[in-house]
Symmetry: C2
Subunit: 217 residues, 2 copies
């Protein structure tokens, strides 16, 4: 090659919903550059073992967190000569939507959860990557089933409505929300219920839901 | 570094509209791999001169075609160990929307125009990159001003309607189309007219249009 090659990394924006707040799971870097700084989980592409960059980010997440996100989407490339003190670098960023319980159960992970609207100082250009991820989620949520992936596989209509409200940053009117969801035809009643004997709430799931293959958007 | 680095390239999907058909501008490769094959214009990132990958693709297009696209959007990364016979490689792909007259006037370019629905055999995974670009354009066009960028700066409502029809692959009803465009508020009458004295057609432009800074979507 005539030119030195850029450093190629992958980074994941892990979005989750905790107590009605859209949060991101960050971790503390254990090496330079930016040692001890708060950052997105990420790593360098390993050309001898990763089939492509999606395989890279799945490997990194398995190694650093012990879990595989159900919803993972390529976001955008961030690149340039100044973003990494080591050399000209390029990060292929991904967005993962993860139910909070799954993230919290990832025993290998040592996450710090922060609201996407109150980020601490971050390593590299990770604040910019997160802003792009949140904009993508909010932009797509008004016309897609993306928010479903922040919920457990089975959920109540109230939980679903609160999820849409947290992402869209607005209150939705209950009967109108339910009518729209019904007309959309993406919900399937499971027949199971939760809550008291007086007013049990039906549990729903996303129709045609499969654990790894679903792509939305 | 512990690992060999991937080869990093940029490629551009140049979309244009000619005689009512959505076409792509391809060229013939002048070097290996895939020497003489039809391909997207692209090149290797030059870390000593490119500020980031968008600067890379703009430089490549300037060098290979002599022009700077008005609308350029990062599409997606295509990567892997098998897509380039040289080594594990990664392409950051871009979509450019270009009025046909601008492309045809790019004197340095030696383009071959083909319909996006009838692609010849192509180098690398370029057919897959084009499919993603066309899907992006079609997906966004029903709710954005993206199609405007396939037109000259000033255009008639009939030309605008035909552009939307070619992209969305459907016929639109004239008075309904005009009513929607008016309600949208993105059009600005220029006061100029074209056509015969009997039924001159008003020329419009996109409101707030600036030559290089506009971003849409």
């Amino acid at each position: 090659m005539d030119y030195p090659l850029p450093l190629v990394t992958v980074d994941a924006v892990l979005l989750t919903l905790r107590a009605g707040v859209l949060e991101i799971a960050l971790h503390q870097r254990d090496r330079d550059p930016f040692k001890n700084a708060t950052a997105l989980p990420g790593g360098v592409v390993h050309v001898d073992e990763d089939g492509d960059t999606e395989a890279s980010i799945r490997r990194v997440l398995r190694e650093k967190t012990g879990f595989e996100p159900r919803y993972l989407e390529q976001l955008q490339v961030f690149s340039g000569k100044d973003r990494d003190p080591r050399q000209w670098s390029l990060s292929v960023s991904y967005v993962a939507l993860v139910p909070a319980a799954e993230l919290e159960a990832a025993t290998q992970a040592d996450f710090r959860f922060v609201s996407v609207d109150a980020l601490p100082p971050l390593a590299f250009d990770h604040a910019e990557i997160i802003a792009a991820a949140v904009a993508r989620l909010r932009g797509k949520s008004s016309y897609s089933t993306l928010p479903f992936f922040l919920l457990p596989e089975r959920f109540t209509l109230t939980e679903l409505q609160h999820t849409y409200e947290a992402i869209l940053q607005t209150r939705l009117e209950k009967s109108n929300f339910r009518r729209k969801m019904e007309a959309w035809g993406v919900l399937e009643a499971t027949g199971e219920h939760v809550g008291g004997a007086q007013r049990p709430a039906q549990l729903y799931r996303l129709k045609g839901f499969t654990l790894f293959d679903r792509s939305v958007g």
